[in-house]
């Protein structure tokens, strides 16, 4: 499926040790890792991804999983610079969106699963810290936290890019965050705020 969208697969491996060897040898643009790998079929994928990023600093990694855990998302985010993605396997169904996520991560961006973001938002909503944010701004915030660019958000919500920019500025002001034009730094700021 990835090849159908013009991506090249340098190596396909089925365990953590081989992944390490493959990323150090081939230096791919992005590594796509399943969380459950042999031999333990627990969180091997996360450990392998973290190890790979230690070996190859800044290696973009996209982790796929049958379920998402905030703890793992946070560990991945904390594992240094470079693109990071953490998606449910279901998202592979929508091939266009999936390939978009792969490209985003490869380019050093972020692709957080909407479910992670939804749980972060839910937690912060109960807390009351998002009380000032309007429903529309919450939608923008969620898409922003997933790692999408202003253009993508505009397309998704069927509004103009200028409207998105206005919303983001308002959100950053309400949450007392430092505005940033860089998409990735913006995501990190938002995630840090929600996770704090």
């Amino acid at each position: 499926m990835l090849q159908a969208h013009g991506l090249e697969i340098s190596a396909a491996v089925d365990n953590g040790a081989d992944l390490l060897a493959a990323v150090t040898a081939d230096r791919p643009d992005v590594a796509i890792v399943d969380v459950r790998l042999p031999p333990t079929f627990t969180d091997e994928g996360i450990r392998a991804a973290l190890a790979a990023r230690r070996e190859v600093p800044g290696l973009p990694v996209l982790v796929l999983s049958q379920y998402v855990e905030q703890l793992y998302a946070r560990e991945l985010m904390a594992s240094g610079s470079g693109g990071i993605g953490y998606l449910l396997k279901d998202r592979v169904f929508d091939s266009a969106q999936f390939v978009d996520a792969v490209r985003r991560v490869a380019a050093g961006g972020t692709a957080m699963d909407p479910e992670v973001i939804a749980r972060l938002l839910a937690r912060n909503t109960k807390d009351g810290s998002l009380a000032a944010v309007s429903p529309r701004e919450r939608e923008v915030l969620a898409l922003m936290a997933e790692g999408r660019s202003n253009a993508a958000i505009a397309q998704r919500l069927v509004i103009t890019e200028r409207a998105v920019a206005k919303h983001t500025a308002s959100i950053f002001m309400k949450l007392d965050l430092q505005p940033s034009d860089d998409d990735n730094r913006r995501v990190l700021a938002v995630l840090a705020y929600l996770g704090g």
Binding site: T42, Q66, E69, D90
Partner: protein, 484 residues
């Protein structure tokens, strides 16, 4: 239960402050009463904890006051001893009196058969009355046990066999008699009443006795110098030793009133039977819930998906656009079904618990919770999967309770492993007032922990804070072992 001492020095005098700030659950038998006892114990901190830097004078006054209290309690302990002896004497005289009356009423010159009949009647009367009299000694033994625990520092568990009719069975006269007469504790109670009434009471009376002796020696005008000195020395020595005398008395009581190994095993079997049936019930209820969730959720969605796909297949040639819409619908349904399955799996056995163990699973719980949760953990290995699961769901339910009822802003989870015991403390700064006797949630947690011999203690004074401590005994396995 066998092999565990009545008092637990490891919890009593551990130096670290964190250990003393939790309520300490008692390990004898997990029952609501004990939960309440633990709570009461928590509410009355020991004087050693609250006193700071006393002056020597105050210290001496405290010492004297303490000894006076001991002497007073020793005198009060005479009560059960005398009552027991008096009761025994009354019973024996009643039985004797009946025999005497029967003998007097019979004419000595009558034939021998009539004599025999009288004797038999008396005997039958004795037999009928004995169980009733035996039961009369139980309250005295109970009081002795309680006082031994509170005043002598030797807690004694109740040794009695469980009433067979308490768990739904019929309580016929024969069963009641068997229950009473075959219980060793019944006869040991009687032994205690006799021993205590004849000699046992001397021990606790000594502290008061030597005090009286000392005071008499000092104020009596006719006492000789040496005698006076000797009496005072005895008084001081006796007073100094009084706590040990009380403890000795407690141990004496314990030797007769504590459960024998046989009784302990019987109680243990009873407890195991109960917790096993509760565990089976809980398991069955869980399976029914899972079945229902699957039936209403994923299964229904898969059926709908199949129908949608079938419809799409039928119209794909005639109306490709509508077919495409149906296919997208089926895809969305599959996403929803997967989401439901994920939630279901989380409810059965959370993946992060299987992957990482308790500490990280609690960390993940903390991230999902709207409260601020602080986690402290010194757990580095893994427990067995059922214990991890029980501990996880207990904490998750406690956190749900806290956010629902306590209006707490912050919660502390404290995860420790010491001496083969997993100890989890959950404390919040909410308004307190949680009562395990009323809340079915806490009772449910208690029941589930009981299947692992775990216990739950709740300290929740009105106004807060609420502290819940759970203890589960288990052997820690080596780290990095997977249980998936």
């Amino acid at each position: 239960m066998a092999g565990q001492g009545p008092d637990r020095p490891d919890t009593a005098d551990r130096p670290d402050a964190a250990a003393t700030s939790w309520p300490q659950p008692t390990r004898q038998a997990p029952s609501p009463q004990q939960t309440r006892q633990a709570r009461q114990a928590r509410q009355a901190p020991s004087p050693q904890q609250t006193r700071h830097a006393p002056s020597p004078l105050a210290e001496m006054w405290d010492w004297i006051r303490g000894r006076l209290v001991v002497a007073g309690r020793g005198l009060l302990l005479l009560g059960p001893a005398v009552t027991g002896l008096a009761l025994l004497a009354a019973v024996l005289s009643l039985l004797g009196l009946v025999a005497l009356l029967a003998w007097k009423a019979t004419d000595p010159y009558q034939t021998q058969e009539l004599d025999l009949i009288t004797a038999m009647a008396v005997f039958v009367f004795w037999l009928l009355m004995t169980p009733i009299f035996l039961l009369c000694f139980r309250p005295i033994a109970r009081l002795s046990r309680k006082l031994a625990g509170q005043w002598c520092g030797v807690p004694i568990a109740a040794p009695y066999l469980p009433r067979p009719w308490a768990s739904g069975g019929k309580g016929g006269l024969r069963r009641r008699l068997t229950w009473l007469l075959t219980d060793q504790a019944t006869w040991r109670d009687l032994l205690w009443v006799i021993v205590n009434g004849l000699v046992g009471w001397i021990l606790p009376v000594v502290p008061a006795g030597v005090l009286v002796l000392g005071v008499t020696a000092v104020i009596a005008p006719y006492a000789q110098g040496e005698v006076r000195l000797l009496a005072v020395a005895v008084a001081v020595g006796g007073t100094w030793a009084s706590p040990w005398l009380m403890r000795g008395y407690g141990l004496l009581a314990s030797s007769m009133l504590a459960p024998t190994q046989h009784a302990e095993l019987t109680l243990r079997v009873d407890q195991l039977t109960q917790t096993r049936s509760e565990a089976l019930d809980t398991g069955a209820a869980e399976i029914r819930r899972i079945e229902r969730d699957l039936h209403d959720g994923a299964q229904a969605r898969l059926v709908a998906m199949g129908m949608t796909l079938d419809a799409a297949g039928q119209i794909i040639d005639t109306n490709p656009d509508a077919a495409r819409a149906l296919l997208y619908e089926a895809r969305d349904a599959s996403v929803k079904a997967l989401a439901e399955l994920r939630n279901l799996v989380r409810g059965i056995h959370p993946p992060i618990l299987a992957d990482r163990g308790l500490a990280d699973a609690f960390r993940a719980l903390a991230m999902d919770s709207p409260m601020r949760i602080h986690l402290a953990s010194d757990l580095c290995g893994r427990a067995s999967a059922p214990i991890e699961s029980a501990a996880y769901f207990a904490v998750s339910e406690l956190l749900a309770n806290v956010s629902k009822h306590a209006e707490a802003r912050e919660t502390w989870i404290d995860l420790r492993y010491t001496d083969g015991m997993l100890r989890i403390g959950v404390t919040d700064n909410g308004h307190g007032g949680a009562d395990p006797a009323r809340g079915s949630g806490l009772r449910g947690i208690e029941r589930r922990l009981a299947a692992f011999d775990g216990v739950l203690a709740v300290s929740s004074p009105p106004g807060g804070p609420t502290a819940v401590t759970m203890e589960i005994p288990f052997e820690l396995s080596l780290p990095k072992t997977s249980f998936s």
